[in-house]
Symmetry: C2
Subunit: 242 residues, 2 copies
């Protein structure tokens, strides 16, 4: 782990927390000398990863971050393969559909239907159905101190073995009030690379069995296109206990 690169990425993480920050704020947040942070920020500045407001001197994220994120999406096979399937799934079930990938203790939405507006949003893994699936397969990790999002947020996960065996996880107003979800894993030949979820208002919960079956079909179809031979994805320990 290279120190200065690590610090640069921490600077970007700090900048994610607020619209704009002063050099001193970043320095105290990272417990570093302002001049140290200045050198890092100047380098990020040269690459457009951060910009400095002309009048106030404050720093914020720069447009190069958007370019990176967009290239990431364009190069993501999961997204390309999932897009037509989730459009059809949204039409068929009338639900909102999301596809997400793991990112540490969060999940990031990389595709959505019927509207793509949710693409890019980040949700704590322990608070959503997508995250529970990824946690069960070891693609996400639990945060040190799980954050309570709503009164319904479950801070310690149920048996992940059940999630793995059934290939399903649920979420009942645990991330945002009035929103429920049902998720299933998506895998490549050798790992669980993401999850797909149906998201509905609490009034429409629970979902009819037809929606559940449609979700299963879609997750399996996408996984097959990505090279997975079995679905739901099996792990050695589960195969042994079965």
């Amino acid at each position: 782990m290279i120190q200065s690169v690590d610090r640069a990425l921490r600077v970007l993480a700090v900048l994610q927390g607020a619209r704009r920050r002063s050099l001193g704020e970043i320095a105290t947040a990272l417990e570093l000398a302002p001049s140290t942070v200045h050198g890092i920020v100047r380098t990020l500045l040269a690459h457009g990863m951060v910009v400095q407001e002309r009048d106030s001197g404050l720093y914020r994220l720069g447009p190069a971050t958007l370019r990176l994120g967009n290239v990431y999406l364009d190069n993501l096979e999961l997204r390309a393969h999932a897009q037509p399937w989730i459009s059809e799934l949204a039409d068929r079930t009338g639900c909102a559909v999301r596809v997400a990938v793991p990112l540490g203790d969060d999940v990031v939405v990389v595709a959505a239907a019927p509207t793509p507006v949710e693409v890019g949003i980040v949700i704590p893994a322990h608070a959503c159905a997508l995250g529970k699936v990824l946690l069960a397969h070891g693609a996400c990790v639990l945060p040190d101190r799980p954050r309570r999002m709503t009164g319904e947020t479950v801070l310690s996960p149920r048996d992940p073995g059940i999630v793995r065996r059934t290939g399903l996880a649920t979420e009942v107003e645990e991330a945002v009030l009035g929103e429920c979800g049902l998720a299933a894993p998506v895998a490549t030949a050798d790992e669980v690379c993401g999850a797909i979820a149906l998201v509905v208002p609490a009034a429409d919960w629970p979902l009819p069995p037809t929606a559940l079956a449609a979700l299963h079909q879609t997750a399996r179809a996408i996984s097959r296109e990505l090279g997975a031979s079995t679905w739901p994805p099996q792990r050695e320990e589960d195969a042994a206990t079965a």
Copy 2:
């Protein structure tokens, strides 16, 4: 400029060029020892900025880039203020509308109407109306060797003073064949922060004067919300020659 941070960002830039790259490819592209690149990549890996494919060992951009880009968009006042205006402008003119910001010798689209699908795309500044506006105001720079996109691409810019005085720049099939555009600057109190464009098929070109006027109105309205006092934005030298 911190060397290792600069190199890390160069690694990300290399990764933007192809879906996936091997460690050796990155090393040769940057003219560095593989072990040096390995240290950098490992750090980026720990932060989710890159991911490594389990089977092939190849590297690609990671989901953290998407999170960064999304936060950038959320924190961008230009986008927030422009969104309602460009929706209305798209309705009124029937054209596609784009708002972009400068990024070196490129422009990055940060808002679009009627559909947001173009958000995140990158266009060389010299090849599009958006870029010509930003070039004229010094927000973009010309690349060392401008790239020819179509047969119509103009490699050396016309008089930027005219663009500044009229507040308009045009684009006739210079970036993509069959696509024409008309752009105007958007400014804050002390700088040109972006540009807004109408984009239409070549068949609908030239645009009627009403569309031109609507674009002007919208650019002025957004600029006013962002704190600009005059529009089109004036530079000292132009004010002197006037």
